[in-house]
């Protein structure tokens, strides 16, 4: 009896150790993702800029929307956050989705490699918008923009948002 309990415990521990993460992104990108997650976990700011990524402010994004410029707005957060409140017209695609399903998650939204894509999440301590950019860039997307201050900044300025599913 005691023996079997010990065996069961050993098996349980071994199973947990064998966590497998499905990754079809490059090692460099995966490493960057880990670094971003660690920053976020330690409640530190995400770096100001990334190589090859253009930044966009809240005001610029607002004028793009007002001018009906052709671009895709991605909300990179988890579903619960997205449903609570988002920028009007945003589609949801988080780096978590891409890590799980691969770049197919982006393709399912009809994203093309040449599209102008703006990414945002919960602001400077949130790793998801920068994380999504790292993965999209790794998959060959070229026209990536980063709204680093994210939704808190948008709300502060009093710009319109949408709520619900």
């Amino acid at each position: 009896m005691k023996k079997y309990l010990v065996y069961a415990l050993v098996v349980a521990v071994a199973m947990t150790g064998s966590a497998v993460i499905a990754a079809n992104f490059s090692d460099g990108a995966m490493k960057q993702i880990e670094e971003l997650k660690t920053l976020s976990r330690d409640k530190k700011d995400i770096p100001e800029s990334f190589a090859g990524v253009k930044k966009i402010t809240g005001e610029e994004l607002k004028s793009w929307i007002d001018q009906k410029k052709a671009f895709v707005l991605l909300d990179n957060r988890v579903p619960a956050d997205f449903e609570k409140e988002r920028i009007i017209g945003a589609k949801r695609l988080s780096p978590d989705d891409m890590l799980e399903k691969g770049i197919a998650a982006a393709e399912a939204l009809g994203l093309k490699k040449t599209d102008i894509i703006v990414n945002y999440c919960n602001g400077v301590k949130c790793w998801r918008s920068s994380g999504a950019i790292v993965l999209l860039q790794d998959a060959g997307y070229k026209n990536l923009y980063w709204f680093r201050d994210g939704i808190p900044d948008w709300i502060k300025k009093g710009y319109p948002t949408a709520e619900g599913k």
Binding site: L9, A12, M15, D42, I151, K157, G158
Partner: protein, 520 residues
């Protein structure tokens, strides 16, 4: 502890138990229980059997009256925020804050909650205020009693019951009595958490541990508890299991960093306080046996040090229970007053934590008092406490050698490496292994996904432990022996300990001699 060997008045000499110690020793059992719960959480999370972010029941509640009485205060806090948002030209922030103010004026809880959540999403200081108001407004008392919430509590009860019974089966305890008694202890723990979940204790910063302790004390001091019930009152068992799980929440670099300073502090506290207390005991004509147990209890880590030193010197068991009670009773005012002092006198959290860790005698009270200050204070306190615990084996070893010299060859036990090992608090090993596993082997995502569930389970063990401490403690036990002189010695030595350790904590953790360790 005291009831293991009721026929003898002499502490049993710790025997080398061989491999059977792995399931017969309470410390080892705590390690296995902690590991089992951690493994279970990890497996269920890994295979997505249970969403670990949803296992935590809610205890938060506020009456409509409590919301109404706070509305004016919240409203004036919002005025200040509105003024600074207007200055900064943040029109969106201003609108949301005004919306919340209007909702507070109307007094509808649902509206207040919705408006406060909209403010929460602004982030920063307004966000924090919004979050607090939303938390109170949403916490309708009925929410605690919804079937979904009660089911979560029930599942934890079943899990803990089964795990505790399994452990005690190996331990050889009376399972039948435990199964009858455990639901009562658990119910008292639930009651304490329910009381602590009210808005007022939350505002005052009074945590569940205080209510658990008081609940236990009131019951044990007004009613005679039946012997079968005491089978389920297992303070150390609960505390140590909780501490092993706490290990999963401490990342290794934190221990290494504060552990070095922690060990320096522990050595200085133990040596100086031990000798002061022993000297004082002789001055007060308390006998040397008593003095040695008391000094170890004050300087090292309370109950377990008292047990170890009693074993090392073959002391009187009545003296051991006396010291154990003293330790537990003196911890009560200390764990309430010290966190208050840390907050009121602006002592930095980490210094405060180190202070608590160095002075409070039970590991559980360090956790409790630390929790009253902040997460960082709690972690630092535990780290310092563990450094002190780690030295317990050495201290007991030194004590055993000293005593064997003093008493000559009559004890018959030669000090050896084995003695150190036997005295070593084994649950500390479990804590370190859990911490290493979560620091180095697990992915960050797994660590963060299981954090709240493990925190919840740890809290339950501590709640059970504190109910038990209350139930085990009798005010009258203290007054009877040696005219209260040992109690006087203990209290004076403890006061000295408090002052001395605060000085050390400032020097070591306050950034004076070393950089302030990075603990969050």
């Amino acid at each position: 502890m005291a009831e293991e060997n009721a026929t003898s008045t002499v502490c049993p000499i710790p025997q080398s138990e061989g491999w059977s110690a792995l399931w017969k020793n309470e410390d080892w059992l705590a390690v296995w229980i902690g590991f089992f719960i951690i493994a279970l959480v990890l497996v269920l999370n890994q295979f997505k059997v249970v969403d670990m972010s949803k296992v935590t029941p809610s205890f938060k509640w506020a009456t409509d009256g409590q919301i109404a009485s706070r509305a004016a205060g919240w409203s004036s806090a919002l005025d200040g925020l509105i003024a600074s948002a207007e200055k900064a030209g943040e029109q969106g922030t201003v609108n949301r804050l005004k919306g919340l103010k209007d909702a507070l004026a109307k007094g509808d809880r649902k509206e207040i909650a919705a408006a406060a959540e909209r403010v929460d999403r602004i982030g920063g200081v307004p966000g924090a205020v919004g979050k607090e108001i939303a938390g109170h407004a949403k916490a309708v008392p009925d929410k605690v009693f919804t079937s979904a919430n009660m089911m979560k509590v029930f599942q934890i009860f079943i899990l803990f019951g089964v795990v505790a019974v399994l452990g005690l089966y190996f331990f050889g305890a009376n399972i039948g009595k435990f199964i009858i008694g455990f639901p009562i202890v658990f119910l008292l723990a639930w009651l304490s958490r329910f009381i602590a979940g009210n808005a007022s204790p939350i505002d005052w910063g009074i945590e569940y541990v205080v209510f658990a302790l008081v609940t236990g004390l009131v019951i044990s001091n007004f009613f005679t508890l039946p012997e079968w019930f005491m089978e389920a009152v297992r303070t150390e068992y609960y505390i140590k299991s909780g501490l092993v799980i706490l290990g999963a929440g401490l990342l290794f670099f934190e221990i290494v960093q504060a552990g070095f300073l922690g060990i320096i502090q522990a050595v200085l506290v133990i040596f100086v306080v031990w000798y002061f207390c022993f000297w004082l005991c002789r001055k007060l004509k308390v006998d040397d046996d008593f003095g040695a147990i008391l000094s170890s209890a004050v300087s090292i880590c309370g109950v377990s040090a008292a047990i170890a030193s009693c074993g090392a010197i073959q002391g009187d068991k009545k003296k051991l229970s006396y010291v154990t009670s003293l330790v537990l009773i003196v911890a009560v005012p200390m764990m309430i007053v010290m966190p208050w002092a840390v907050k009121s006198f602006g002592i930095p959290d980490i210094v405060g934590g180190a202070w608590l860790g160095g002075t409070l005698d039970t590991s559980g009270s360090v956790v409790a008092a630390g929790a009253l200050i902040s997460e960082a204070a709690m972690k630092t306190g535990v780290i310092v406490k563990f450094s002190q615990n780690a030295l317990m084996g050495f201290a007991a070893f030194a004590l055993a050698i000293w005593w064997s010299f003093k008493k000559g060859a009559e004890t018959g036990e030669k000090p050896s490496a084995r003695v150190i090992w036997d005295r070593f608090p084994k649950f500390v090993l479990g804590f370190i292994v859990a911490s290493a596993f979560f620091s180095f082997l697990l992915h960050i995502d797994t660590v963060s996904a299981t954090k709240s569930a493990l925190g919840e389970f740890r809290t339950w063990w501590f709640a059970l432990a504190f109910v038990s401490i209350g139930l085990e403690t009798r005010f009258t036990d203290i007054v009877k022996m040696e005219g209260g002189r040992p109690a006087l010695a203990f209290i004076v030595a403890q006061a000295f300990n408090v002052v001395w350790t605060l000085i050390l904590a400032y020097l070591l953790f306050g950034g004076i001699l070393f950089a302030v360790p990075d603990i969050k």
